[in-house]
């Protein structure tokens, strides 16, 4: 399969007054063409910052320290701001975590969708209008003709999120980075929107990175999954492998904490402890303090991120044996 995006040893740090936050600390991954990659992990794991780093929207005090972001073979890290603005919104688009505030309150919906079309296509005015209507229809907004002249405050939260998705899809991107695209929505709409997005991805043949903390959701629509913990990828593989043969204790912990109606477990299992302080990360494995399989070696020696089996990457000294 052809790789659309390949990230090598990417590090994004925040240099705050209190110290350095290693939000993304040396991650390696790739996205194939037409593939959906899920990124999961607890809050603060660096999922969003990974997404922002890919389009280089990291604001001070944050900085991409090192690494390569090879998009169709070109290293985006070396690109200037001007070159990036030609890629953003055209080849790579991002849907943010918080849909409520992502739209500009003083522009109409049409103006905001059209902006992308004006920047990245040669459509004329009439064609742009038609495209706007079509997009709103695609994301399931009733009565699109009339809705175009509305302002964001006249839309509900769910509709706003659809508009943000419509903006992302406006110019047929090659890669969509969707950061928790549905967390702000109620459950029925969540499923609807995710279905819609996967359909559109398949239809347009683009790739998608779906960021979420919800393993259950991602397991249904993604092809592969990266599990992130404290700025590092701890495990990465095909969905079926992660779900059935995961090797990292953290992944196992996440899986066990998914509520399962069929299983009828008395009590949900949780991962003990809390995410460590980002300023004082453990010396060895970041997961050491919370791990139920820890050994002496884990305390002082950082595990290497390695290919455990073909296409199955893991960073753990003592991978779990056997099936789940």
């Amino acid at each position: 399969m052809e790789k659309l995006l390949e990230v090598k040893n990417l590090k994004t740090y925040f240099h705050t007054f209190k110290g350095v936050v290693k939000a993304v600390d040396g991650v390696d991954f790739y996205v194939n063409k037409g593939e959906i990659l899920g990124i999961v992990g607890e809050s603060g794991g660096g999922k969003s910052i990974t997404g922002f780093s890919l389009i280089k929207l990291i604001e001070s005090p944050g900085k991409i320290e090192t690494g390569e972001i090879l998009f169709e073979g070109n290293d985006l890290v070396k690109y200037s701001e001007r070159e990036m603005s030609k890629i953003r919104g055209k080849d790579i688009v991002m849907i943010f975590q918080d849909p409520m505030t992502s739209l500009n309150p003083v522009y109409t919906i049409k103006q905001q969708i059209e902006e992308s079309l004006i920047l990245h296509t040669n459509l004329n005015k009439k064609e742009r209008h038609e495209r706007c209507v079509e997009l709103l229809k695609d994301v399931g907004i009733p009565n699109p003709e009339n809705r175009l002249t509305n302002y964001p405050h006249q839309f509900s939260g769910g509709m706003r999120q659809r508009v943000v998705i419509a903006i992302a899809l406006a110019v047929n991107p090659k890669l969509i980075i969707a950061d928790e695209p549905t967390t702000a929505l109620d459950v029925t709409i969540q499923a609807q929107i995710l279905k819609l997005m996967t359909e559109l991805v398949k239809k347009q043949g683009c790739s998608m990175i779906l960021i979420t903390h919800d393993l259950a959701v991602v397991s249904e629509i993604a092809d592969r999954i990266n599990v992130m913990y404290c700025g590092k990828i701890v495990e990465s593989s095909k969905v079926s492998t992660i779900m059935n043969h995961c090797k990292h204790p953290y992944t196992r912990g996440l899986l066990n904490s998914i509520p399962d109606i069929k299983d009828n477990k008395d009590r949900l299992e949780t991962i003990d402890g809390i995410v460590p302080n980002m300023f004082k990360l453990p010396k060895g494995c970041n997961f050491y303090p919370r791990c139920n399989k820890r050994m002496e070696e884990c305390e002082n020696k950082e595990p290497e991120y390695r290919e455990y089996k073909e296409g199955h990457y893991i960073s753990c000294h003592y991978p779990i044996e056997g099936e789940r």
């Binding site: 929207l57 603005s85 919104g89 943010f96 992502s102 302002y151 943000v164």
Partner: protein, 321 residues
């Protein structure tokens, strides 16, 4: 819309009623018009005649109704000093003042917004820091002091610009203005700069704060993610959102500019209504004082009305109520 208009007009009536009552009370308490109007050696019958002429023998409420009735007809009485209709005197001097105010306002908007946007967008540059320091000076320095400083530097020391009066006045589109002649423009520079300094400074600070606040909003990030260039984000997305609070301040500033013309006009001997009102206060010329106060009250209400209209144009979330 019509409901909004009616509400506004009703407000205007109430404001004017309150102001007229205040003006009436103040002018009848302060100073005795008779002593100004009649000669020192006037006879008793002359005084009685003047009393009757001014209606001073009537009960107070009657006098007030008479005052309102005349005021509605644009008649505020005759200036004691000039022996001319008070309202006429004011209207005659109004263009000079409005000219000053409009120029000062234009300077505030242009410099205030341009410098403010710059200082907000590049807060760490040397120029931004200079702008911000100067703006503190602009807010804290009293305008009479600044005016005198200007006169000293530009007028006396270097002799670059005239410092007194309005200069040669020409006509543009039927309006008499100093802007029609080079000499007039030279005359207007210093007073307009002095007058605008405070509001330039406030608008700079407000714009900067607004820009900085908006730059970190998610919609800016989305715009950048769409590939919009920084400059377009700044002057499009961000500025439009920032304008909302600026318009409020703009209205308030316009009011205070009109008020401050009294000082500026006095310093620069500018023949506007601000100087007229100071002179009239000094000589207890009540018809002019009352006419001026009521006129300014009307102007304030109108400004507020326009500001509310502008709000609706800029911020779609606000509807006329």
């Amino acid at each position: 819309m019509i409901k909004f208009l009616i509400k506004r007009i009703w407000q205007l009536v109430i404001v004017l009623f309150a102001v007229s009552l205040l003006v009436f009370i103040m002018t009848s308490l302060v100073g005795d018009p008779l002593s100004l109007l009649v000669k020192e050696n006037a006879s008793a019958s002359q005084i009685a005649e003047a009393t009757e002429y001014l209606g001073l023998d009537q009960p107070a409420y009657h006098q007030y109704f008479l005052f309102v009735k005349n005021a509605l007809n644009g008649d505020f009485g005759v200036s004691y000093r000039y022996q001319q209709s008070a309202i006429h005197l004011i209207i005659e001097r109004m263009p000079a003042t409005l000219e000053l105010v409009v120029i000062a306002m234009a300077l505030s908007i242009v410099f205030g917004i341009v410098f403010g946007v710059y200082a907000g967008a590049y807060p760490n540059s040397f120029l931004s820091k200079t702008i911000m320091n100067l703006s503190i000076a602009g807010i804290s320095v009293p305008s009479f002091w600044l005016g005198m400083l200007m006169i000293y530097i530009f007028g006396i020391k270097f002799g670059l610009l005239p410092v007194s009066g309005r200069g040669e006045v020409g006509t543009i589109l039927g309006i008499k203005t100093s802007l029609a002649t080079i000499d007039g423009i030279k005359h207007v520079i210093l007073p307009a700069l002095t007058l605008s300094m405070g509001s330039v400074a406030s608008i700079i600070r407000l714009t900067r704060a607004g820009i900085q606040e908006n730059m970190v909003q998610d919609y800016v990030k989305l715009a950048r993610a769409k590939g919009v260039k920084n400059r377009k984000i700044l002057f499009g997305h961000v500025l439009k959102n920032t304008l909302i609070p600026i318009i409020t301040i703009f209205g308030l500033q316009l009011g205070s500019l009109i008020a401050y013309t009294t000082i500026t006009e006095t310093i620069f001997a500018w023949p506007g209504m601000g100087k007229l009102i100071i002179d009239s206060i000094n000589s207890s010329d009540t018809p002019i004082i009352s006419a001026y106060i009521l006129l300014v009250a009307v102007i304030f209400v109108v400004i507020n009305f326009v500001v509310d209209l502008l709000y609706c144009v800029i911020d779609p979330r606000i509807e006329l109520k």
